[in-house]
Structure formats: C-alpha cells, structure tokens
C-alpha cells in the first residue's frame, strides 16, 4: 500500500503500558475466558480416559487417569493468545510437563500430532513441546478443567496461538514428517507464533 492507512475518526483504546507490552500484534485483552470449539463438547468418563504416546516409538506408552494423577504435577502461570484476537494474561494451570511424559523415550521423530476426543488434531515441532514449553493440564484456576475448556485434560502450549493447546487431548503421535492438523488443514498457519502474527497460511 502506498500512503499509510488511517481509519477516519477512529481513536482506539490503548492498554496500560505493562499490559500492552504483553499483547502480541493484533490482540486485545479479555478478562473472561471465551470458549471456541468446532463441534460438540465430548464427555469421556474418566475410567475410559487414557493418554497415549504412539507413532515413532518402539513401545507405545499409556497412562490411565489414575496413573496420570500420580505423575508429578506443576503449577504454571502463562499469558494465552487466541487466533480470534483475544489474549488473557496470567492464567494459572496445574498439569504434567510433557518433559515428564516424553522423558525416557527415544525417538527419531521431529514432529508431534496431538489428537483429541471428537477427532481434533493439531501438529507441532517436537522441540516446541519439550524443555518446559508444554504441559497436559487438568486443573484451571485451582479447580478441575471444565469440559467446554477442554476437560478432563488439555494440551497447554502457551507460546503458540491457543488452537495448538488441544482440548480433550488423548495423546501424541510422534512423526518423522510434519502432518497438518485440523485447523492447519483449513487455512490456519502451520506453526502459529502470535508474536509474528502467524494466524493464517502464508503469514
């Protein structure tokens, strides 16, 4: 575009500077916790729930809900950024680090595909879910994670747009080759870095 664009008569509402610095480009702050899902909320009974790691791995791993509860949990406070433009600061979660779940696994994989009840998937580089960057969380703000927010457990990868933090997550498929997930096949960015505003394919 040649001349800089100005929206006639638009003033805007700027955030306080400390909050503004934590907002990626194009995002606005919310206090609430909006719900976005592509379909009905699944309701899997806990006795039928498990978390598995499959794919490029000699022996697939599996944890029942009871076994998952016994794994070391940690508390996490992070800002989250949804591709639909809202950001929420200082959200608090409790869950199991993927470093714990992937800890002693040897794999040739460079990518993971998270899969969920209801058929949702999302893809990530393996290095984006290791070294303290991702968790399987089952507690939000001190209470059990509500079904509409992904309970009983969801993936939390807060450095990427929030669609990567798959709700109702049931496992990870370790992959040698990248494979686009649900939204990544429907026009959204394959990686989704909010600070680079990678919302859509080609961004």
């Amino acid at each position: 575009m040649s001349d800089p664009f100005v929206s006639r008569g638009f003033q805007g509402r700027r955030q306080r500077s400390e909050s503004a610095q934590r907002l990626p480009p194009g995002q606005y702050l919310v206090e609430s916790f909006p719900v976005l899902s592509a379909g009905p909320t699944p309701h899997t009974p806990l006795e039928q729930w498990d978390f598995t790691i499959v794919g490029e791995i000699d022996e697939p791993r599996r944890w029942t809900w009871e076994e998952f509860q016994k794994l070391p949990h940690e508390s996490i406070t992070k800002d989250i950024h949804c591709v639909t433009k809202w950001s929420k600061l200082d959200t608090t979660w409790t869950g199991v680090s993927l470093d714990t779940l992937l800890g002693d696994i040897t794999t040739s994989a460079d990518y993971v595909l998270a899969f969920s009840d209801g058929g949702y998937t999302t893809n990530l580089p393996l290095e984006d879910v290791t070294a303290g960057k991702a968790w399987i969380v089952d507690i939000y703000e001190g209470g059990p994670l509500a079904p509409e927010h992904g309970g009983p457990a969801r993936l939390l990868v807060p450095h990427l747009y929030f669609w990567k933090s798959a709700k109702w997550v049931r496992g990870l498929r370790l992959l040698a080759e990248d494979e686009p997930g649900f939204w990544e096949s429907l026009g959204y960015n394959n990686y989704g870095d909010p600070w680079k505003e990678q919302r859509y394919a080609g961004d």
């Binding site: 606005y28 919310v30 909006p34």
Partner: protein, 250 residues
Amino acid sequence: MALIRARLAWQRATVLELIDETPRVRSLVLDAPTWQGYSAGQHLDVRLTAEDGYQTERSYSVSSAPANPHVTITVERLDDGEVSPYLTEVLRTGDQLELRGPIGGWFTWRPADGGPLLLVAGGSGIAPLMAMIRQKAALRSPVPVRLLYSSRAYDEIIFREELDQLVAAESELTVAHTLTRSQPEGWTGYSRRIDRAMLEEFAWAAAEHPLTFICGPTPLVESVATVCVEMGYAPERVKTERFGPTGGAA
C-alpha cells in the same frame, strides 16, 4: 506436508451502504475490489488504524451470499467495545476499511455439501447462517433448511423481514423464532430458551442425517450441540461457532 499458500493480504474496502438491522446491529455493505471468492459461513478480519498508528483487529462473519458481488458484515454494538461502536456509530458511507479474508474452512456450507440443514442461531450469531440461507436462495438450491433463531425481543430479530420474505418464496425453508425476554402481544412463536423439547419438535430426526450449524453465545451453543448429539446426530456433522460478546471488549 503443509500446503504453501500466499499470505492473505490486507485490502482496502469502501463502505457502500449501512443498514440498521436492529437498534444495536448494523450491516456494512462493502465494495472490496480485490476480495476473492468465499464460502457461506466464513469470516474476515477488520483492522482499524488511528492517526498515531495504533491498530487493532477483530473478526466478523460475512452475512452476504457468496453469489452477491458485495461482501457484507453484520456487526452488533457492544457498549464497552473498542471496535463495534466505531463500526456501528462512527463509520459512514464512503469511508474505507482495511480487511483480509476469507478465513475459516470448517463452519462453511456450499450447496454441494447437501443437507438437510439445521441452522440454530442466537442473536448476532445469525450472520454466518444468513450467508448460507441467502446462498441457498441465490443459487436456488433444493436443500431443505430449518432455522431456529433465538432473540431477546421482537425488535432485536436481525433480518426478520428478509427471513419472512424468503420463507414465503422458498418452500424448502422453515424458520422458527423464539423470544427469550419479551414477546409482543399475540406472539405465536416460542417464548423460552432453546431446549430439548423445542429441538425435538422443530429439528430434523436423526434418521434424516442432518448437517447442523450452531452459532451464538457459548451457553446456547454448548447446550444445543449437546442436545443434538443426545438426539442421535453424528457429532462430526454438528458444527459450532461462538459469536457475540466474549465478555471482553470486542
């Protein structure tokens, strides 16, 4: 492998017409010369820029039929909003807007996708569903459509007259309204929040294998989607989208 696609570029559009749909809702008919084809149900991003360079963005569903040459968005004014008061109160015919899109490839319907369609809307959640209804009418698609539309009050029903006209003209379109807060005298529609009894009365039987689109506030979307699954609808054919106030400033 992921598809390599061209970036969706920001483009300038000119406001051709402003239509006051209800006291709180305005449609913006846009002339967007570089806007590409899209599917009913998709949305676009609007970016506003202040004189000092401050920018903010929001997403709005397209309410016009893809068959219509002018893309239209339908915006509900949120009193504590940053963008919607500008779009509904400040913006004038002839002003320019920056936008990019179309966005979203899931909550979409093309006539070839078939049906029968169950559309369930709450408030301004009607916008992407109206694009589907308008597209069906424009292309004379024979796919049967049932729309169940929840509004707070009679004068808050968006597209009421147009829906009445379409129902009169289209034998395969059925519309039921429910008014949750107040009803005019002699109201013959529903007068409560959408519930299982209402859906069992109005919606398709599961055996019809319907394709369902639900758009509105989260409690409506959650409860209607849950009832659809309980009624035996295939979950992968129940598509949802949240719309309207997020509780924050939109």
